[in-house]
């Protein structure tokens, strides 16, 4: 699934470890999600939404044809 986590994280000068601490998951988890290897559950997507202060769709934009 496409996401803007890397960009949003860079805007805030957060490392993957910083973001992982805020979300409450491991750095590996953030890395897997950021690189599109793992799709987070809805509760975790909402955690990203809370942490970035954006809507879920702004972080995980809908892809064309899906």
């Amino acid at each position: 699934m496409k996401n803007r986590i890397r960009v949003l994280r860079a805007e805030r000068n957060w490392t993957q470890a910083d973001l992982a601490d805020r979300i409450g998951v491991s750095r590996n988890a953030v890395n897997s999600i950021e690189n599109g290897r793992f799709d987070p559950s809805l509760p975790m997507a909402y955690r990203f939404s809370d942490v970035f202060g954006l809507s879920v769709e702004e972080i995980f934009p809908k892809e064309k044809g899906r």
């Binding site: 993957q16 409450g24 998951v25 491991s26 890395n31 897997s32 999600i33 690189n35 509760p43 975790m44």
Partner: protein
Amino acid sequence: MPKSGQMRPKVKPGVWAGMLVAASVLTAALMATLFRMKIIGMEGQGYFFLLAFVFAMLAMVPYWRSLDEPSREAHKFAVFWGLGWAFAFVMLIGIELMHFGGLRDLVQGWVEGWIAFSKGISGEQQGAVGFYLGIVASTFLMGLAYILVWLGWWAHQRMGAKAD
């Protein structure tokens, strides 16, 4: 939905505790029944393994609760594709052993060799030893498959992944 900290599993702690107590009681009841029916002996080692089993089960709970989503996904994937396929393979070997003489003779030779190597096993225990060795070999194969698939899952996650 959780508001902070680690992502929580859907099962509440009270339910977990109830399930654990129920599992322990049921296991104990099953073991006691088997013991009363003289299907198993409960001398020393039996109690030790029962306790070890219960504590292993208990120890799994905090471990599982500490895992985040991808880590749990890795375990689920390994159970389905590693343990599941290895179990099917072990079943296939079991069927082969029952129906085809060549493989049966080969395995029987290994078991007899092991029995000859470990002195002090009486004739009446040899069948049980063969059964036990079968369980150990099956568990080893399934455990190995589980670990390999689990490592493969993580390797796939890391392929081409960019860190900070």
